[in-house]
Protein backbone atom coordinates (compact mmCIF):
# COMPACT_ATOMS: atom_id res chain seq x y z
CA UNK A 1 0.00 0.00 0.00
CA UNK A 2 1.53 3.25 -1.05
CA UNK A 3 0.85 5.84 1.59
CA UNK A 4 1.28 9.42 0.58
CA UNK A 5 3.18 8.68 -2.60
CA UNK A 6 3.99 11.84 -4.44
CA UNK A 7 4.01 10.18 -7.88
CA UNK A 8 0.90 9.03 -9.64
CA UNK A 9 1.79 6.86 -12.58
CA UNK A 10 -0.73 5.13 -14.81
CA UNK A 11 0.05 2.26 -17.08
CA UNK A 12 -1.40 2.36 -20.53
CA UNK A 13 -2.76 -0.73 -22.22
CA UNK A 14 -0.13 -1.87 -24.62
CA UNK A 15 1.00 -4.53 -27.02
CA UNK A 16 -0.83 -7.11 -28.98
CA UNK A 17 -0.08 -10.07 -31.20
CA UNK A 18 1.08 -9.68 -34.75
CA UNK A 19 -0.84 -11.28 -37.57
CA UNK A 20 0.29 -14.86 -37.74
CA UNK A 21 1.56 -15.23 -41.26
CA UNK A 22 4.61 -17.48 -41.09
CA UNK A 23 7.02 -15.21 -42.89
CA UNK A 24 6.59 -12.56 -40.27
CA UNK A 25 9.74 -12.01 -38.39
CA UNK A 26 8.52 -11.22 -34.95
CA UNK A 27 11.03 -8.97 -33.34
CA UNK A 28 11.41 -10.19 -29.81
CA UNK A 29 11.37 -7.33 -27.40
CA UNK A 30 15.06 -7.01 -26.85
CA UNK A 31 14.41 -6.76 -23.16
CA UNK A 32 15.42 -3.19 -23.38
CA UNK A 33 11.90 -2.02 -22.96
CA UNK A 34 11.33 0.91 -20.75
CA UNK A 35 8.15 1.39 -18.75
CA UNK A 36 5.18 3.02 -20.32
CA UNK A 37 4.99 6.73 -20.41
CA UNK A 38 3.59 8.41 -17.33
CA UNK A 39 0.22 9.99 -17.67
CA UNK A 40 -0.51 13.66 -17.14
CA UNK A 41 -1.02 15.39 -13.81
CA UNK A 42 -4.23 15.21 -11.74
CA UNK A 43 -7.21 16.07 -13.89
CA UNK A 44 -8.16 19.15 -11.96
CA UNK A 45 -4.87 20.92 -12.42
CA UNK A 46 -6.07 23.27 -15.08
CA UNK A 47 -9.61 24.04 -14.09
CA UNK A 48 -9.10 25.60 -10.71
CA UNK A 49 -9.73 29.25 -11.41
CA UNK A 50 -12.75 28.54 -13.53
CA UNK A 51 -14.34 26.28 -10.95
CA UNK A 52 -13.63 28.74 -8.20
CA UNK A 53 -15.34 31.52 -10.07
CA UNK A 54 -18.34 29.32 -10.70
CA UNK A 55 -18.36 28.34 -7.08
CA UNK A 56 -18.54 31.91 -5.83
CA UNK A 57 -21.75 32.41 -7.71
CA UNK A 58 -23.29 29.52 -5.81
CA UNK A 59 -22.35 30.71 -2.40
CA UNK A 60 -25.62 32.55 -2.27
CA UNK A 61 -27.15 29.28 -1.27
CA UNK A 62 -26.79 28.94 2.49
CA UNK A 63 -26.94 25.18 2.27
CA UNK A 64 -23.89 25.16 0.07
CA UNK A 65 -22.04 27.44 2.44
CA UNK A 66 -22.82 25.20 5.38
CA UNK A 67 -21.65 22.15 3.50
CA UNK A 68 -18.47 23.81 2.45
CA UNK A 69 -17.72 24.96 5.96
CA UNK A 70 -18.35 21.50 7.32
CA UNK A 71 -16.02 20.01 4.74
CA UNK A 72 -13.39 22.62 5.41
CA UNK A 73 -13.49 21.87 9.14
CA UNK A 74 -12.99 18.21 8.40
CA UNK A 75 -10.14 19.18 6.16
CA UNK A 76 -8.45 20.98 8.96
CA UNK A 77 -8.96 18.00 11.24
CA UNK A 78 -5.62 16.51 10.28
CA UNK A 79 -3.87 19.76 11.09
CA UNK A 80 -5.70 20.07 14.38
CA UNK A 81 -4.86 16.49 15.31
CA UNK A 82 -1.18 16.87 14.59
CA UNK A 83 -1.17 20.06 16.57
CA UNK A 84 -2.96 18.36 19.46
CA UNK A 85 -0.56 15.46 19.47
CA UNK A 86 2.33 17.87 19.50
CA UNK A 87 0.72 19.89 22.24
CA UNK A 88 -0.09 17.05 24.58
CA UNK A 89 3.18 15.30 24.18
CA UNK A 90 5.13 18.38 24.96
CA UNK A 91 2.74 19.52 27.68
CA UNK A 92 3.39 16.40 29.68
CA UNK A 93 6.92 15.88 28.51
CA UNK A 94 8.15 19.32 29.36
CA UNK A 95 6.87 18.93 32.86
CA UNK A 96 9.42 16.20 33.26
CA UNK A 97 12.08 18.81 32.74
CA UNK A 98 10.82 20.55 35.84
CA UNK A 99 10.89 17.43 37.94
CA UNK A 100 14.14 15.98 36.69
CA UNK A 101 17.32 17.99 36.31
CA UNK A 102 18.44 18.26 32.71
CA UNK A 103 21.76 16.61 33.32
CA UNK A 104 20.08 13.49 34.55
CA UNK A 105 18.82 12.83 31.07
CA UNK A 106 22.38 12.19 30.13
CA UNK A 107 23.67 10.47 33.19
CA UNK A 108 23.43 10.35 36.96
CA UNK A 109 26.23 10.64 39.37
CA UNK A 110 26.11 8.00 42.03
CA UNK A 111 28.51 6.96 44.64
CA UNK A 112 29.62 3.42 44.24
CA UNK A 113 30.16 1.03 47.05
CA UNK A 114 33.63 2.37 47.77
CA UNK A 115 32.30 5.88 48.18
CA UNK A 116 33.65 7.30 44.91
CA UNK A 117 31.43 9.33 42.60
CA UNK A 118 30.74 7.65 39.28
CA UNK A 119 28.57 8.62 36.34
CA UNK A 120 26.16 5.97 35.29
CA UNK A 121 24.08 6.23 32.16
CA UNK A 122 21.17 4.01 32.83
CA UNK A 123 17.46 4.14 32.36
CA UNK A 124 16.00 2.78 35.56
CA UNK A 125 13.06 4.94 36.47
CA UNK A 126 11.67 2.54 39.02
CA UNK A 127 13.16 2.09 42.40
CA UNK A 128 14.60 4.09 45.20
CA UNK A 129 17.16 5.92 43.12
CA UNK A 130 15.56 6.50 39.74
CA UNK A 131 17.82 7.11 36.78
CA UNK A 132 16.57 8.78 33.65
CA UNK A 133 19.43 8.71 31.20
CA UNK A 134 18.07 8.82 27.68
CA UNK A 135 21.30 7.69 26.11
CA UNK A 136 20.67 3.95 26.35
CA UNK A 137 17.30 4.48 24.70
CA UNK A 138 18.71 6.52 21.81
CA UNK A 139 21.45 3.98 21.47
CA UNK A 140 18.96 1.14 21.35
CA UNK A 141 16.70 2.83 18.83
CA UNK A 142 19.49 3.61 16.41
CA UNK A 143 21.21 0.29 16.92
CA UNK A 144 18.05 -1.29 15.59
CA UNK A 145 16.99 1.31 13.04
CA UNK A 146 20.31 1.72 11.23
CA UNK A 147 20.96 -1.94 10.41
CA UNK A 148 17.28 -2.34 9.59
CA UNK A 149 17.35 0.55 7.15
CA UNK A 150 20.57 -0.78 5.65
CA UNK A 151 19.17 -4.26 5.07
CA UNK A 152 15.80 -3.01 3.93
CA UNK A 153 17.44 -0.38 1.77
CA UNK A 154 19.47 -2.90 -0.19
CA UNK A 155 16.54 -5.27 -0.56
CA UNK A 156 14.00 -2.55 -1.19
CA UNK A 157 15.97 -0.65 -3.82
CA UNK A 158 16.77 -3.91 -5.59
CA UNK A 159 13.06 -4.81 -5.57
CA UNK A 160 12.20 -1.33 -6.81
CA UNK A 161 14.67 -1.57 -9.68
CA UNK A 162 13.40 -5.02 -10.53
CA UNK A 163 9.76 -3.96 -10.52
CA UNK A 164 10.29 -0.75 -12.43
CA UNK A 165 12.91 -1.70 -14.98
CA UNK A 166 13.45 -5.42 -15.25
CA UNK A 167 10.22 -7.27 -14.70
CA UNK A 168 7.82 -8.08 -17.49
CA UNK A 169 4.39 -6.59 -17.04
CA UNK A 170 2.75 -9.83 -16.03
CA UNK A 171 5.45 -10.74 -13.56
CA UNK A 172 5.20 -7.31 -12.04
CA UNK A 173 1.48 -7.71 -11.54
CA UNK A 174 2.15 -10.75 -9.39
CA UNK A 175 5.28 -9.70 -7.54
CA UNK A 176 4.24 -6.19 -6.58
CA UNK A 177 1.11 -7.13 -4.61
CA UNK A 178 3.14 -9.95 -3.12
CA UNK A 179 5.67 -7.54 -1.69
CA UNK A 180 2.91 -5.23 -0.52
CA UNK A 181 1.42 -8.16 1.37
CA UNK A 182 4.55 -8.09 3.49
CA UNK A 183 3.53 -4.64 4.58
CA UNK A 184 0.15 -5.97 5.59
CA UNK A 185 1.41 -8.45 8.15
CA UNK A 186 0.76 -7.11 11.63
CA UNK A 187 4.00 -6.17 13.35
CA UNK A 188 3.07 -8.14 16.43
CA UNK A 189 3.16 -11.26 14.27
CA UNK A 190 6.63 -10.49 12.97
CA UNK A 191 7.79 -9.80 16.48
CA UNK A 192 6.30 -13.06 17.68
CA UNK A 193 8.03 -15.04 14.95
CA UNK A 194 11.34 -13.38 15.67
CA UNK A 195 10.98 -14.28 19.29
CA UNK A 196 9.73 -17.80 18.79
CA UNK A 197 11.66 -19.09 15.80
CA UNK A 198 14.19 -16.76 14.27
CA UNK A 199 15.90 -15.94 17.54
CA UNK A 200 16.79 -19.53 18.31
CA UNK A 201 17.78 -20.21 14.72
CA UNK A 202 20.07 -17.22 14.67
CA UNK A 203 21.61 -18.13 17.96
CA UNK A 204 22.37 -21.61 16.70
CA UNK A 205 23.76 -20.22 13.48
CA UNK A 206 25.80 -17.30 14.75
CA UNK A 207 26.45 -18.26 18.33
CA UNK A 208 25.32 -14.98 19.82
CA UNK A 209 25.29 -14.51 23.56
CA UNK A 210 21.84 -13.06 23.71
CA UNK A 211 19.03 -14.79 21.93
CA UNK A 212 17.06 -11.58 21.77
CA UNK A 213 19.17 -8.75 20.50
CA UNK A 214 19.23 -5.64 18.38
CA UNK A 215 20.14 -7.50 15.20
CA UNK A 216 17.14 -9.79 15.51
CA UNK A 217 14.96 -6.77 15.96
CA UNK A 218 16.64 -5.15 12.96
CA UNK A 219 15.79 -8.10 10.74
CA UNK A 220 12.19 -8.02 11.87
CA UNK A 221 11.92 -4.29 11.31
CA UNK A 222 13.64 -4.59 7.93
CA UNK A 223 10.99 -7.09 6.86
CA UNK A 224 8.31 -4.53 7.57
CA UNK A 225 9.94 -1.54 5.87
CA UNK A 226 11.15 -3.29 2.69
CA UNK A 227 7.74 -2.82 1.02
CA UNK A 228 7.77 0.89 1.87
CA UNK A 229 11.20 1.43 0.35
CA UNK A 230 10.50 -0.83 -2.64
CA UNK A 231 7.26 0.92 -3.42
CA UNK A 232 8.68 4.43 -3.21
CA UNK A 233 11.78 3.46 -5.19
CA UNK A 234 9.63 1.97 -7.90
CA UNK A 235 7.51 5.11 -8.06
CA UNK A 236 10.63 7.27 -8.25
CA UNK A 237 12.04 5.21 -11.11
CA UNK A 238 8.78 5.22 -13.03
CA UNK A 239 8.58 8.96 -12.70
CA UNK A 240 11.76 9.35 -14.73
CA UNK A 241 10.58 10.40 -18.22
CA UNK A 242 10.89 7.67 -20.78
CA UNK A 243 12.63 10.02 -23.20
CA UNK A 244 15.77 9.80 -21.13
CA UNK A 245 15.85 6.03 -21.40
CA UNK A 246 15.21 6.17 -25.13
CA UNK A 247 17.98 8.72 -25.56
CA UNK A 248 20.34 6.44 -23.66
CA UNK A 249 19.45 3.38 -25.75
CA UNK A 250 19.82 5.51 -28.87
CA UNK A 251 23.42 6.11 -27.95
CA UNK A 252 24.04 2.40 -27.80
CA UNK A 253 23.75 1.45 -24.14
CA UNK A 254 22.87 -1.87 -22.63
CA UNK A 255 19.89 -2.12 -20.33
CA UNK A 256 21.91 -2.10 -17.16
CA UNK A 257 23.96 0.87 -18.34
CA UNK A 258 20.76 2.82 -18.87
CA UNK A 259 19.46 1.83 -15.44
CA UNK A 260 22.71 2.58 -13.63
CA UNK A 261 23.80 5.69 -15.49
CA UNK A 262 20.56 7.42 -16.38
CA UNK A 263 17.46 6.13 -14.62
CA UNK A 264 18.74 5.62 -11.10
CA UNK A 265 20.75 8.87 -11.00
CA UNK A 266 17.69 10.74 -12.21
CA UNK A 267 15.62 9.12 -9.47
CA UNK A 268 18.17 9.46 -6.71
CA UNK A 269 16.15 12.08 -4.83
CA UNK A 270 13.13 9.85 -4.72
CA UNK A 271 15.21 6.90 -3.62
CA UNK A 272 16.84 8.97 -0.90
CA UNK A 273 13.42 10.05 0.28
CA UNK A 274 12.38 6.40 0.35
CA UNK A 275 15.33 5.54 2.56
CA UNK A 276 14.71 8.46 4.88
CA UNK A 277 11.06 7.56 5.28
CA UNK A 278 12.03 3.94 5.81
CA UNK A 279 14.39 4.96 8.57
CA UNK A 280 11.67 7.05 10.18
CA UNK A 281 9.41 4.05 10.11
CA UNK A 282 12.14 1.89 11.60
CA UNK A 283 12.65 4.30 14.46
CA UNK A 284 8.94 4.34 15.18
CA UNK A 285 8.44 0.60 15.20
CA UNK A 286 7.23 -0.66 18.55
CA UNK A 287 5.96 -4.21 18.73
CA UNK A 288 8.83 -5.94 16.98
CA UNK A 289 11.46 -4.30 19.11
CA UNK A 290 9.40 -4.87 22.19
CA UNK A 291 9.36 -8.57 21.59
CA UNK A 292 12.68 -9.22 19.92
CA UNK A 293 15.37 -6.96 21.30
CA UNK A 294 15.65 -8.16 24.84
CA UNK A 295 14.75 -4.95 26.61
CA UNK A 296 18.00 -4.27 28.40
CA UNK A 297 18.52 -0.54 28.66
CA UNK A 298 22.27 -0.36 28.26
CA UNK A 299 24.56 1.74 26.13
CA UNK A 300 26.35 -0.49 23.69
CA UNK A 301 27.53 -0.54 20.12
CA UNK A 302 27.36 -4.29 19.83
CA UNK A 303 24.53 -5.04 17.49
CA UNK A 304 24.22 -8.52 18.96
CA UNK A 305 23.49 -7.39 22.47
CA UNK A 306 20.16 -6.80 24.10
CA UNK A 307 18.94 -3.25 23.84
CA UNK A 308 15.92 -1.18 24.68
CA UNK A 309 14.53 1.30 22.22
CA UNK A 310 12.62 4.48 22.91
CA UNK A 311 9.43 2.97 21.58
CA UNK A 312 9.76 -0.20 23.65
CA UNK A 313 10.38 1.84 26.76
CA UNK A 314 7.14 3.72 26.39
CA UNK A 315 5.22 0.58 25.56
CA UNK A 316 6.67 -1.39 28.42
CA UNK A 317 6.29 1.15 31.16
CA UNK A 318 3.27 3.28 30.37
CA UNK A 319 0.90 0.74 31.83
CA UNK A 320 2.48 0.76 35.25
CA UNK A 321 3.20 4.41 35.93
CA UNK A 322 1.36 6.71 38.24
CA UNK A 323 -0.30 9.49 36.35
CA UNK A 324 1.44 12.79 36.86
CA UNK A 325 4.56 11.25 38.34
CA UNK A 326 8.09 11.86 37.17
CA UNK A 327 8.33 8.59 35.27
CA UNK A 328 5.02 9.22 33.56
CA UNK A 329 6.18 12.57 32.35
CA UNK A 330 9.58 11.23 31.42
CA UNK A 331 7.82 8.73 29.17
CA UNK A 332 5.94 11.54 27.51
CA UNK A 333 9.23 13.32 27.04
CA UNK A 334 10.63 10.26 25.30
CA UNK A 335 7.52 10.23 23.15
CA UNK A 336 7.94 13.89 22.34
CA UNK A 337 11.54 13.38 21.30
CA UNK A 338 10.57 10.41 19.17
CA UNK A 339 7.81 12.42 17.53
CA UNK A 340 10.22 15.24 16.79
CA UNK A 341 12.77 12.93 15.20
CA UNK A 342 10.25 11.23 12.90
CA UNK A 343 8.66 14.59 12.12
CA UNK A 344 12.04 15.99 11.13
CA UNK A 345 12.79 12.97 8.95
CA UNK A 346 9.42 13.38 7.24
CA UNK A 347 10.12 17.03 6.53
CA UNK A 348 13.55 16.25 5.12
CA UNK A 349 12.09 13.53 2.90
CA UNK A 350 9.46 15.91 1.58
CA UNK A 351 12.06 18.55 0.80
CA UNK A 352 14.11 15.97 -1.06
CA UNK A 353 11.08 14.89 -3.07
CA UNK A 354 10.22 18.50 -3.89
CA UNK A 355 13.75 19.04 -5.11
CA UNK A 356 13.47 15.99 -7.32
CA UNK A 357 10.23 17.22 -8.83
CA UNK A 358 11.80 20.52 -9.68
CA UNK A 359 14.83 18.94 -11.31
CA UNK A 360 12.94 16.57 -13.53
CA UNK A 361 10.18 18.91 -14.57
CA UNK A 362 12.69 21.47 -15.79
Amino acid sequence: MTLATPFKVHRQAGGGAPPDAPEWQRVEPSGQRGPRRSAAEPPLAHGRAGFRGARRAYRRSRGEAVIETALRLNGYAAVILIALIFLFLFKEGLQALFKIPLGEFIGTTVTDYRGYPKTVRLWQPVGGDPKYSLLPLFCGSFLVALPATLIAGVLGVACGIYLAELAAARTREVVKPFIELLAGIPTVVIGFLCLATLGTAMQNLLGTTFRLNAFLGAIGVALVIVPVIASLTEDALRAVPNELRVASYGLGSTRWQTIARVTVPAAVSGISAALILGMGRALGETMIVLMATGNAALITLDVFSSVRTMTATIAAELGAVAQGGAQYQALFLVGAILFTITFALNVVAELVIARMRRRLVL
Partner: protein, 263 residues
Protein backbone atom coordinates in the same frame (compact mmCIF):
# COMPACT_ATOMS: atom_id res chain seq x y z
CA UNK B 1 6.72 -1.46 -56.47
CA UNK B 2 6.43 1.93 -54.91
CA UNK B 3 7.56 5.05 -56.65
CA UNK B 4 11.30 5.14 -57.17
CA UNK B 5 13.38 8.20 -57.90
CA UNK B 6 13.41 9.53 -61.42
CA UNK B 7 16.80 11.10 -60.86
CA UNK B 8 19.79 10.25 -62.98
CA UNK B 9 21.55 7.29 -61.40
CA UNK B 10 24.96 8.85 -61.86
CA UNK B 11 23.99 12.01 -60.03
CA UNK B 12 22.69 10.22 -56.93
CA UNK B 13 25.56 9.24 -54.64
CA UNK B 14 26.01 5.81 -53.12
CA UNK B 15 23.35 4.63 -50.70
CA UNK B 16 24.35 4.30 -47.11
CA UNK B 17 21.06 3.05 -45.70
CA UNK B 18 19.00 0.79 -47.91
CA UNK B 19 15.42 0.04 -47.03
CA UNK B 20 13.67 -2.62 -49.08
CA UNK B 21 10.00 -3.51 -48.87
CA UNK B 22 9.72 -2.66 -45.20
CA UNK B 23 6.49 -3.53 -43.41
CA UNK B 24 6.34 -2.45 -39.79
CA UNK B 25 3.69 -3.24 -37.20
CA UNK B 26 3.12 -1.85 -33.72
CA UNK B 27 1.33 -4.82 -32.22
CA UNK B 28 -1.56 -5.45 -34.59
CA UNK B 29 -1.52 -1.99 -36.10
CA UNK B 30 0.37 -1.49 -39.36
CA UNK B 31 2.54 1.61 -39.46
CA UNK B 32 4.63 1.09 -42.59
CA UNK B 33 3.49 -0.58 -45.79
CA UNK B 34 6.17 -1.72 -48.19
CA UNK B 35 8.66 1.13 -47.95
CA UNK B 36 11.66 1.02 -50.28
CA UNK B 37 14.12 3.88 -50.33
CA UNK B 38 17.72 4.81 -49.70
CA UNK B 39 19.44 7.35 -47.55
CA UNK B 40 22.32 8.50 -49.70
CA UNK B 41 25.76 8.91 -48.26
CA UNK B 42 26.70 12.43 -47.19
CA UNK B 43 23.35 13.74 -48.29
CA UNK B 44 20.43 15.02 -46.34
CA UNK B 45 17.23 13.09 -46.97
CA UNK B 46 14.05 14.70 -45.75
CA UNK B 47 10.90 12.73 -45.03
CA UNK B 48 7.70 14.72 -45.16
CA UNK B 49 4.05 13.90 -44.89
CA UNK B 50 0.94 14.60 -42.82
CA UNK B 51 0.58 13.48 -39.20
CA UNK B 52 0.41 9.76 -38.75
CA UNK B 53 1.95 8.90 -42.10
CA UNK B 54 4.71 6.89 -40.48
CA UNK B 55 7.72 9.15 -40.99
CA UNK B 56 8.91 8.91 -37.39
CA UNK B 57 8.27 5.18 -37.41
CA UNK B 58 10.44 4.85 -40.49
CA UNK B 59 13.54 6.31 -38.97
CA UNK B 60 12.92 4.57 -35.68
CA UNK B 61 12.93 1.35 -37.65
CA UNK B 62 16.44 2.06 -38.84
CA UNK B 63 18.07 2.08 -35.42
CA UNK B 64 15.45 -0.25 -33.95
CA UNK B 65 14.63 2.17 -31.18
CA UNK B 66 10.89 1.60 -31.65
CA UNK B 67 11.29 -1.74 -29.90
CA UNK B 68 12.26 -0.06 -26.65
CA UNK B 69 8.75 1.24 -26.18
CA UNK B 70 6.48 -1.49 -27.48
CA UNK B 71 6.28 -4.77 -29.31
CA UNK B 72 6.86 -4.60 -33.04
CA UNK B 73 6.75 -6.95 -35.99
CA UNK B 74 8.84 -6.44 -39.09
CA UNK B 75 9.03 -7.76 -42.64
CA UNK B 76 11.53 -6.61 -45.23
CA UNK B 77 15.11 -5.51 -44.91
CA UNK B 78 17.05 -2.54 -43.75
CA UNK B 79 20.75 -2.45 -44.50
CA UNK B 80 23.35 -0.02 -43.30
CA UNK B 81 26.38 -0.53 -45.45
CA UNK B 82 26.78 -4.28 -45.34
CA UNK B 83 24.96 -4.80 -42.05
CA UNK B 84 21.44 -6.14 -42.20
CA UNK B 85 19.70 -4.38 -39.34
CA UNK B 86 17.04 -7.02 -38.74
CA UNK B 87 19.26 -9.96 -39.35
CA UNK B 88 19.81 -12.65 -36.77
CA UNK B 89 22.49 -11.99 -34.14
CA UNK B 90 22.49 -8.29 -34.69
CA UNK B 91 24.05 -6.46 -31.78
CA UNK B 92 21.56 -3.75 -30.97
CA UNK B 93 24.03 -1.89 -28.84
CA UNK B 94 26.53 -1.63 -31.65
CA UNK B 95 23.81 -0.79 -34.16
CA UNK B 96 22.58 2.10 -32.10
CA UNK B 97 26.08 3.39 -31.70
CA UNK B 98 26.53 3.43 -35.45
CA UNK B 99 23.26 5.24 -35.97
CA UNK B 100 22.76 8.43 -34.01
CA UNK B 101 19.37 9.87 -33.21
CA UNK B 102 18.12 13.30 -32.26
CA UNK B 103 14.58 13.53 -30.91
CA UNK B 104 11.75 15.95 -31.29
CA UNK B 105 11.86 17.32 -27.81
CA UNK B 106 15.37 18.00 -26.56
CA UNK B 107 16.07 15.38 -23.92
CA UNK B 108 19.42 16.05 -22.29
CA UNK B 109 20.13 14.00 -19.21
CA UNK B 110 19.84 15.84 -15.90
CA UNK B 111 23.61 15.92 -15.70
CA UNK B 112 26.28 18.46 -16.57
CA UNK B 113 26.95 19.55 -20.15
CA UNK B 114 30.22 17.66 -20.09
CA UNK B 115 28.61 14.50 -18.75
CA UNK B 116 25.91 14.65 -21.40
CA UNK B 117 28.41 14.83 -24.24
CA UNK B 118 30.71 12.29 -22.62
CA UNK B 119 27.87 9.86 -21.88
CA UNK B 120 28.18 7.86 -25.09
CA UNK B 121 31.97 7.44 -25.04
CA UNK B 122 31.80 6.49 -21.36
CA UNK B 123 29.24 3.82 -22.17
CA UNK B 124 31.67 2.26 -24.55
CA UNK B 125 34.56 2.14 -22.18
CA UNK B 126 36.48 5.36 -22.60
CA UNK B 127 37.43 6.57 -19.14
CA UNK B 128 40.57 8.61 -19.67
CA UNK B 129 39.73 12.16 -18.70
CA UNK B 130 41.86 13.80 -21.39
CA UNK B 131 40.46 11.61 -24.10
CA UNK B 132 36.95 12.38 -22.96
CA UNK B 133 37.65 16.11 -22.86
CA UNK B 134 38.95 15.98 -26.40
CA UNK B 135 35.89 14.08 -27.59
CA UNK B 136 33.56 16.47 -25.78
CA UNK B 137 35.22 19.50 -27.29
CA UNK B 138 35.16 18.00 -30.73
CA UNK B 139 31.49 17.09 -30.53
CA UNK B 140 30.47 20.45 -29.12
CA UNK B 141 32.37 22.19 -31.90
CA UNK B 142 30.70 20.05 -34.51
CA UNK B 143 27.36 20.98 -33.00
CA UNK B 144 28.29 24.68 -33.02
CA UNK B 145 27.84 24.87 -29.27
CA UNK B 146 31.42 24.99 -28.04
CA UNK B 147 31.88 28.73 -27.97
CA UNK B 148 28.72 29.20 -25.94
CA UNK B 149 29.43 26.63 -23.24
CA UNK B 150 33.18 26.22 -23.10
CA UNK B 151 33.38 28.03 -19.79
CA UNK B 152 30.63 26.15 -18.05
CA UNK B 153 30.92 22.55 -19.01
CA UNK B 154 30.14 21.60 -15.43
CA UNK B 155 26.83 23.43 -15.38
CA UNK B 156 23.59 21.47 -15.59
CA UNK B 157 22.41 20.83 -19.12
CA UNK B 158 18.90 21.77 -18.04
CA UNK B 159 19.97 25.38 -17.62
CA UNK B 160 20.52 25.79 -21.36
CA UNK B 161 17.90 27.24 -23.67
CA UNK B 162 15.80 24.93 -25.83
CA UNK B 163 17.93 25.48 -28.90
CA UNK B 164 21.14 24.97 -26.98
CA UNK B 165 19.77 21.79 -25.43
CA UNK B 166 18.96 20.44 -28.86
CA UNK B 167 22.44 21.22 -30.10
CA UNK B 168 23.77 19.49 -27.01
CA UNK B 169 21.71 16.44 -27.93
CA UNK B 170 23.22 16.59 -31.40
CA UNK B 171 26.70 16.81 -29.89
CA UNK B 172 25.86 13.91 -27.63
CA UNK B 173 24.85 11.85 -30.65
CA UNK B 174 27.96 12.85 -32.58
CA UNK B 175 30.28 11.97 -29.73
CA UNK B 176 30.00 8.25 -30.46
CA UNK B 177 30.99 8.87 -34.10
CA UNK B 178 27.97 7.40 -35.82
CA UNK B 179 27.81 6.78 -39.53
CA UNK B 180 24.23 7.87 -39.92
CA UNK B 181 22.37 10.64 -38.13
CA UNK B 182 18.60 10.39 -37.81
CA UNK B 183 16.67 13.45 -36.77
CA UNK B 184 13.02 13.27 -35.78
CA UNK B 185 11.54 16.75 -36.18
CA UNK B 186 14.50 18.28 -34.36
CA UNK B 187 13.29 21.86 -34.63
CA UNK B 188 9.60 21.51 -33.91
CA UNK B 189 10.02 22.49 -30.26
CA UNK B 190 12.35 25.42 -30.99
CA UNK B 191 11.96 29.08 -31.87
CA UNK B 192 12.88 30.36 -35.38
CA UNK B 193 16.32 31.60 -34.44
CA UNK B 194 17.31 28.31 -32.83
CA UNK B 195 15.78 26.52 -35.82
CA UNK B 196 17.91 28.53 -38.22
CA UNK B 197 21.04 27.67 -36.25
CA UNK B 198 20.26 23.99 -36.39
CA UNK B 199 19.50 24.06 -40.11
CA UNK B 200 22.87 25.70 -40.66
CA UNK B 201 24.41 23.00 -38.52
CA UNK B 202 22.81 20.26 -40.62
CA UNK B 203 24.30 21.83 -43.67
CA UNK B 204 27.77 21.66 -42.15
CA UNK B 205 27.36 18.13 -40.86
CA UNK B 206 26.33 16.89 -44.26
CA UNK B 207 29.98 16.76 -45.28
CA UNK B 208 30.70 13.98 -42.85
CA UNK B 209 27.47 12.18 -42.08
CA UNK B 210 24.51 10.61 -43.79
CA UNK B 211 21.54 12.49 -42.47
CA UNK B 212 17.84 11.70 -42.53
CA UNK B 213 15.50 14.31 -41.16
CA UNK B 214 11.79 13.95 -40.52
CA UNK B 215 9.96 17.21 -40.66
CA UNK B 216 6.39 18.45 -40.87
CA UNK B 217 7.67 21.79 -42.09
CA UNK B 218 7.89 21.64 -45.86
CA UNK B 219 9.84 24.83 -46.18
CA UNK B 220 12.45 23.39 -43.85
CA UNK B 221 12.65 20.29 -46.03
CA UNK B 222 13.11 22.45 -49.08
CA UNK B 223 15.84 24.50 -47.40
CA UNK B 224 17.82 21.76 -45.84
CA UNK B 225 17.61 18.56 -47.84
CA UNK B 226 19.02 17.15 -51.06
CA UNK B 227 16.50 14.36 -51.39
CA UNK B 228 12.93 14.29 -50.19
CA UNK B 229 10.52 11.45 -49.58
CA UNK B 230 6.80 12.05 -49.27
CA UNK B 231 4.88 9.54 -47.24
CA UNK B 232 1.19 9.08 -46.72
CA UNK B 233 -0.60 6.57 -44.49
CA UNK B 234 2.43 4.34 -44.15
CA UNK B 235 3.28 4.26 -47.83
CA UNK B 236 6.04 5.97 -49.72
CA UNK B 237 4.30 8.07 -52.34
CA UNK B 238 7.25 9.75 -54.00
CA UNK B 239 10.99 9.94 -53.45
CA UNK B 240 13.19 12.22 -55.57
CA UNK B 241 15.59 15.13 -55.50
CA UNK B 242 14.21 17.97 -53.44
CA UNK B 243 13.94 20.47 -56.29
CA UNK B 244 11.95 18.01 -58.32
CA UNK B 245 9.56 17.17 -55.51
CA UNK B 246 8.85 20.77 -54.78
CA UNK B 247 8.63 22.06 -58.34
CA UNK B 248 7.48 19.22 -60.56
CA UNK B 249 6.25 16.34 -58.45
CA UNK B 250 5.27 13.23 -60.35
CA UNK B 251 2.34 12.20 -58.15
CA UNK B 252 -0.83 14.19 -57.79
CA UNK B 253 -0.94 13.40 -54.10
CA UNK B 254 2.48 14.94 -53.60
CA UNK B 255 1.41 18.08 -55.36
CA UNK B 256 -1.76 18.27 -53.29
CA UNK B 257 0.19 17.99 -50.07
CA UNK B 258 2.82 20.51 -51.09
CA UNK B 259 0.28 23.04 -52.16
CA UNK B 260 -1.56 22.61 -48.93
CA UNK B 261 -4.69 20.99 -50.19
CA UNK B 262 -4.58 18.53 -47.30
CA UNK B 263 -2.53 17.64 -44.31
Amino acid sequence: MTAAGRADAAAVPAAKVMIRDLHYFYGPKQALDGISMDFAERQVTAIIGPSGCGKSTLIKAVNRIGEVVSEVSVRGTVRIGDLSVYGPDVDLVDLRRRVGMVFQKPNPFPKSIFDNAAFGPRLHGITDRDELSAIVERSLRQAALWEEVRDRLGASALELSGGQQQRLCIARALAVEPEVLLMDEPCSALDPIATAKIEELIHELKADYTIAIVTHNMQQAARVSDLTAFMYLGRLVEFDRTETIFTTPAQQQTEDYITGRFG
